[in-house]
């Protein structure tokens, strides 16, 4: 079995009386697709925010590739290869789709503050960005302003941007939220081939998607992990059925 890329130990975050994370443990293995599921209010997004660095935990540790990143700011974690996408699409709305991806390529590169030549005519930024747009199926929408893209297209662009940053691990917060059947299919086809190349931590409400894509699944309830294992064992787990899957029938 592959070694862990991400280890979370005893992560705790309280908002007043509410413990959004309550001693959360989580191990994600390199190159896998790891599903993180749980009922509404289980603290999945709070957990993701602490992994990406947008929230600081009250206690506990986050280890990425064996290194303690618990106190690192967002941009430092991103530079180590821990990238995320957002539940609500987060793009540069006035830039074109190509600009958006080129921006991500630029920041991955060494001189993200270069003041020399014009960035929009720089093939070292534009060419990889074009290739990524092809890969997510947006090649014909390159010059459309991101704010004017359809919802599903924004999701595709979001994934292209996350990939452009050259991540080793991608935190995907409900990538299928608010997307229709056909686009969900397309996004799944996009994510599946990433297995092995990139580690994915996938938070998703659509159970069909999670059980189809994930190699391993962790179930969260009230801020802690109650079960973890391959999809078939999760499906069979009685506690999970009672706490969670039962709600959905």
């Amino acid at each position: 079995m592959a070694e862990p890329i991400l280890e979370v130990r005893g992560l705790t975050k309280r908002f007043g009386a509410l413990a959004a994370s309550d001693g959360l443990d989580l191990t994600v293995r390199r190159g896998t697709v790891h599903g993180l599921i749980g009922p509404n209010g289980a603290g999945k997004t709070t957990a993701i925010n602490q992994l990406s660095g947008e929230l600081s935990p009250d206690s506990g540790h986050v280890l990425f590739e064996g290194r303690d990143v618990t106190r690192l700011p967002v941009h430092r974690r991103a530079r180590l290869g821990l990238q995320r996408s957002y539940q609500i699409t987060s793009l540069f709305p006035d830039f074109t789709a190509l600009d958006n991806v080129a921006m991500a390529v630029q920041i991955r590169g060494r001189s993200c503050f270069g003041m020399g030549r014009p960035a929009r005519r720089d093939p070292t930024l534009r060419d990889p960005a074009r290739a990524l747009l092809d890969r997510v199926g947006l090649d014909d929408r390159r010059d459309v302003v991101a704010g004017g893209l359809a919802h599903g297209e924004k999701r595709q662009l979001e994934i292209a941007m996350a990939l452009a940053a050259g991540p080793r691990m991608l935190l995907l917060d409900e990538p299928m939220a608010g997307v229709g059947r056909r686009e969900t299919r397309r996004l799944m086809d996009l994510l599946a081939p990433l297995r092995g190349e990139i580690t994915l931590l996938l938070v998703e409400h659509d159970m069909d998607v999670v059980f189809a894509l994930a190699d391993e699944i962790t179930v969260m309830v009230k801020g802690r992990a109650i079960a973890s294992g391959p999809p078939e064992s999760i499906r069979a787990d009685r506690e999970v059925r009672r706490a969670y899957l039962g709600d959905y029938g």
């Binding site: 700011p73 960035a119 929009r120």
Partner: protein
């Protein structure tokens, strides 16, 4: 076929080049002085637009850097004339009257002060940033008022304009062209800057700074550099402003001047480099016309500003150069 934008820009530049001979031919030498002033404030407004229009940082203290630039020229010239040592500097250097010394010093001093104020102010964002830049600028304003050696509230006179070998900067027409060259030079450099990788990050900060950070960009550092560059541009404008009036006083850095700079940027067209030039011209010409009608011209200008905010957000340049007119 040339685009509408190119036509507007070319025509504008030709008009500015041809203005002094035309003004003299029509017996209106005052126009040369007025337009020198417009060019100087256009430079300050364009530097503000770098952070305001491109970076989304609403600084309400930009005039402070104009003031720092002006005082640098004033103080260096003062000591050069008196032959006394400039305080707070090592050795007993007694300033200089040379533009080649004074102007880079003005730019450097303004950039340095901007770096310090920016480092503190950029710990916050949004409405805090507005209030903090205003407060720091006002602190500098009171600081210069409390400096009796340099005239306090009354300011200091320049004994002569900055010397440029081979040029008579005392001549209004020569001085006008010096201002024009420096303004165009600044705009060309700024245009390169906003088109560069750095410029893309700056524009990205305005649209979605959190996303940039999530991608791995230390945005605060980038914004700080932009803030200092904008301060440097304002410092150069200040050096020119001191030369034009041959006088420096704290009023130059009063917060209403910072407000006027924002007005120029919005009036001309935010997020374009040429827009603020149009804005500076519009505001200063409007002032010229309205003061001719009534001494209480502000009572007209105030409500006019509110109308501009409510109904005319694109600015003059956006209106002239057509929809989608952006520098980039």
């Amino acid at each position: 076929m040339a685009s509408r934008r190119t036509v507007v820009l070319t025509l504008g530049l030709l008009l500015l080049i041809g203005l002094p001979p035309a003004a003299l031919a029509f017996g209106e030498p005052f126009m040369v002085t007025l337009w020198s002033r417009i060019l100087i404030w256009a430079l300050a407004a364009a530097s503000l637009d770098l952070i305001l229009g491109y970076g989304g940082m609403v600084s309400l203290g930009h005039a402070a850097f104009v003031g720092i630039g002006a005082y640098t020229v004033g103080i260096l010239g003062h000591h050069a004339f008196e032959g006394s040592a400039v305080p707070f500097l090592p050795g007993d250097w007694s300033g200089s009257a040379l533009a080649l010394v004074q102007w880079p010093a003005a730019v450097g001093a303004a950039a340095l002060v901007a770096l310090i104020i920016g480092a503190l102010s950029l710990r916050t964002a949004g409405v805090y940033f507005i209030m903090i830049t205003l407060a720091f600028a006002q602190m500098l304003y009171y600081f210069f008022i409390s400096l009796p050696d340099y005239g306090g509230e009354d300011g200091i006179n320049l004994w002569q304009r900055s010397e440029v070998p081979g040029l008579d900067t005392g001549d209004p027409v020569v001085f006008y062209y010096v201002c024009l060259v420096l303004l165009v030079g600044f705009l060309v450099l700024a245009k390169r800057l906003v088109d560069s990788r750095f410029g893309m990050v700056l524009r990205g900060c305005k649209q979605n700074e959190a996303r940039l950070r999530a991608l791995g960009c230390p945005t605060t550092r980038g914004k700080l550099v932009a803030f200092a560059i904008a301060g440097a541009g304002a410092g150069l404008a200040g050096a020119l402003a001191a030369n034009q009036t041959e006088f420096v006083d704290p009023g130059l850095m009063h917060w209403t001047k910072s407000g006027e700079l924002i007005v120029m940027v919005l009036l001309g067209g935010m997020g374009t480099l040429v827009g603020p030039v149009f804005g500076a011209a519009a505001l200063l010409l409007l002032e010229e016309v309205l003061t001719g009608i009534t001494e209480h011209w502000m009572i007209i200008l105030g409500p006019l500003l509110i109308l501009v905010v409510l109904f005319a957000r694109r600015g003059i340049y956006g209106w002239l150069a057509g929809p989608g007119a952006r520098d980039g």
